[in-house]
Symmetry: D2
Subunit: 323 residues, 4 copies
């Protein structure tokens, strides 16, 4: 199920070390200006290379294969591909014998009966988020005044993120983090009861991003410790504006005219330089292993733009329903 | 979008104070024994009446309208309805003029242009979870060895739940809580990359339950504070069993042979006896209000069986894909 | 897959001799006036009782269980049920042993492993079209100026339909017929390339109606015998109006501003009074059989309103996408 | 809506004169041997170049971008693209001013507000069927013993197809035709009541093929002229085999163990060399026009392999549900 959306729909494809990864965006209205340069800004925010991210470098240049004519979307599906260039297939052959802890290696091998492309995580790779970001760029173009903004607010439990990353790198270890996302200017009343609450749709997409393990809207898990008299947000005016925003901009699954706010928990990168232990399927014993390759000490550093992308995708689909 | 599922599909309908609420379950295989008595156990766990829950009492007897013949499912859609009996329509007319904080009243009125059934929350009512529980009963029947179990583990931030509820009731207030859910014996490899990760599908359904504001799988938000060396679960044997279970039984969006574990945050009941403040749409001023009616001091008390139901619904749909 | 539609969605349920049949209509906008009396006209057109139709008489009174408040749709799902009243369960028990030619008896028993409700065709019964007609009534309400009109134009290969039916009844036999359907005032450009061409969506729904074996749009099968110079419809003005309408109002899968026109072939009723031959599963021999019960000599007589209904359902869904 | 299917799903993209067209096939099981050479046979059957088909020549070499590893499908989406090479963009610029009769030009311009890629029909081009054929090759691989076979049985109303084509070419005109398709060895009981009858799903896909205007299953439109006693197919044995096959292998929307048979009507190619008349949008008058470019005198010649492809796609999706 590599598809998502009802009217604004995306279809992902590709593997980390295959020819290409990409996305087909269907349901985008005609007449939206779109060119390959429009992707640069968001793609660069996702790009590895910063301290604490993998040194694998790809140009990651998008190619628009279809759906754009004379510089505008046509209303036909938009297919965007990214060639995989910096591939070292031999790095990964070991995962067949000794599945990496924290990765999908073993479950994927079981499910796909050994035929999965195991190189670099294949279709499970974080590299797939490149396609999400590309689809997000298209979605953002549709959203007009709605501004989505995500940032890493905590890493390894600390607010001083640089230091936390530094420490993790020194230890050959990795750390997780918290990404906070907001979206302003969403009209009141978006969301599709009963099942497609705004929280439902956003969380569905957010949990498709590798490494996400939690999400909370508004006060999130803190809500569980509060009293109704403190949690209820008093409504102040006809725009729906509330005095507080414990609800994170969503009541009854519908946007309520306030800032959409949610936080996601990103687990520490599973691939670490330190020695780990895992079953060796040949010897059937738990043995030491080292995961070679290029790793992110803190994958959460690259997650904000991906969270923005999926939020934009979710909102664009709602918007298309209410045009 | 009152439908969910790909093969095992459910369609919800009804309003709190209309004639009936119900669910149509499509895609259930033929030959499953099913009778109205099968619903009693789970429905009674959801029923109000306990301390801290609303005194509204309904018999909540399910009627199977279609899809069962000679005591077994036929393969045709199963429609189950619940008549609404204990209705006091006048209780709720005020919400038109003064939307209740924490409720969907204002957003729903905007979205449905004043035509929504506002009585008792209408289609947004927690009463809709009755239909979820009923669908969950059918789903559980399909799951064989898979055992799902949810419980309230914390209320108002405290482990002594009875006391916390007692306090809230005395204060005319309400409290939230944490519900923990586990599912054992799920085969390895369930989940549909890229978008229908197990986390994605479960969270989608969980956030359709009114009052849920957060979800975390395995170590959840605590993952964000951990290091990779501590978070990665070492794989011990060919069944996929791991030494720890920080992943909550899911890696790469696929079940990995371990216990599925997640926790959800339930906000405090929005309807409280205490005086609150909210915009009065006639005077266009913020005014004091009291929400009359029958309330739950801690709606989280009734949520566990609903969380079990949606988990069963999610898993039944995966199972149908892999039969 | 008892569901159809993307935005305007319908879910059918029920069996001919169970408690009820019905339909849940989701995605209907709020504020549409709707009452049980609105269904009378179309339901009466479908009702048996006329010469050539089964003498089974049901009151066929719709009950709106949900989705209507103060005489208007609320935006929540609309569930409409029809109680089954005039049931004679013993009439049909024989189909288990000797499947009726032309019916789904044998294939259904195989598929549903003997658990299907075989009484009166169960979920395969033509009675299910009652639910289609009800959904069609809701759909027609949304379509404003668009007028859909279907009629039986031929029965048993003859234009004098009364005589053809009379003859069939006298012979204890049945006849098929041709239903012609038109829809006027559809805006130009409806249809969703590549797969949801207007022809695709209408034919999908039309072939869900029991007994339909063919469909042709515009000149239909006659197109295959024509030349391009004769078949191409010259465009006359900016409204898209064409001199001829061999295309039946659809080019490239899109409505083109002309009258939508199609014809469907209805096979003769499968249940006939005359003796037939079929396998007896107990003796494993082909044996003579008589299908007792109440039959339509020409089921095509009751099909036009059903064809109108599915056309309205198809068009309402397109319209919701283009609002 | 460029997607089709529930479990075996295809997503089409591309334009006739853009960079590429292609298809993404999702839901294909892992372990199916697949290489680019596997497409050659069916692609060559669709290729232009024969008498009566367009002289536009493309190599039409498929490139598998994703989803295949070590010569086998991986379970991840399979993306197949075809570069567009033999492009003459200037050929088509006139359609903006004077929409071609029989084509989607005008409706598409209206619907996509002038942004559609009008070159060679763009996304409406018959060239898109290349992607269908490619998806069909994958589908056929899944179908094991099921053999699908389609052929042109009539052109321009005549059985001597060569002569009919010859005449049309001489006249600068075009002709339609009838394609007959059969599928053998389909297990009994496939089809998904109520809406996804086998006829519904096949006709949905068939009418997505450009130029199709009619479809009939079994006796098709002839059914409408028959009597029940003649149309009902007597069941002969436990395999469901019937003495006749007026039903075309489908009863109650389910396959019944007999040969699946249907016929489709293909209209004459809309693009003809002869002078035609159509509105000129600049002068707002009906004026003479000549459609330059490379045309098929009988597009029906190239349709059989496309009909096979969509039949395979429909059956593969059913099969995946019943594995």
């Amino acid at each position: 199920m590599n598809s998502f959306g009802r009217v604004f729909r995306i279809h992902l494809f590709g593997e980390s070390h295959g020819k290409a990864i990409g996305v087909c965006v269907d349901g985008c209205p005609p007449g939206v200006p779109l060119a390959e340069k429009d992707f640069i800004h968001d793609l660069s925010r996702r790009r590895p290379g910063a301290r604490g991210t993998t040194p694998r470098k790809e140009k990651d240049s998008p190619e628009i294969l279809a759906g754009v004519f004379n510089g505008h979307t046509t209303g036909a599906p938009i297919t965007i591909t990214f060639a995989n260039e910096n591939i070292r297939p031999k790095d990964y052959s070991f995962v067949v014998d000794q599945p990496r802890p924290g990765h999908a290696d073993m479950a994927a091998a079981h499910r796909f009966r050994g035929f999965q492309d195991y190189r670099g995580g294949g279709h499970f790779s974080g590299r797939m988020t490149l396609a999400l970001v590309a689809a997000g760029v298209v979605a953002k173009k549709l959203l007009g005044d709605i501004r989505i903004s995500a940032a890493l607010v905590e890493a390894g439990g600390q607010r001083d993120i640089d230091k936390a990353v530094e420490n993790a790198m020194r230890e050959g270890d990795s750390i997780g983090g918290i990404v906070e996302c907001t979206a302003e200017n969403i009209p009141m009343g978006w969301g599709e009861p009963f099942f497609d609450s705004v929280e439902s749709v956003i969380s569905h997409l957010v949990f498709a991003i590798p490494a996400i393990k939690g999400i909370g809207f508004g006060s999130g898990f803190r809500s569980a410790t509060m009293k109704g008299s403190g949690h209820n947000d008093p409504i102040l005016d006809k725009s729906g504006k509330t005095k507080t925003n414990h609800a994170g901009g969503i009541t009854g699954g519908l946007t309520n005219g306030n800032l959409l706010e949610f936080r996601v928990a990103v687990k520490p990168t599973s691939s670490i330089a330190r020695e780990q232990r895992s079953l060796h399927t040949k010897t059937n014993k738990v043995e030491a292993m080292k995961v070679a390759g290029r790793h992110d000490a803190c994958i959460a550093l690259r997650v904000p733009v991906v969270v923005e992308a999926v939020t934009a995708i979710a909102l664009a689909d709602f918007q298309m329903l209410y045009r």
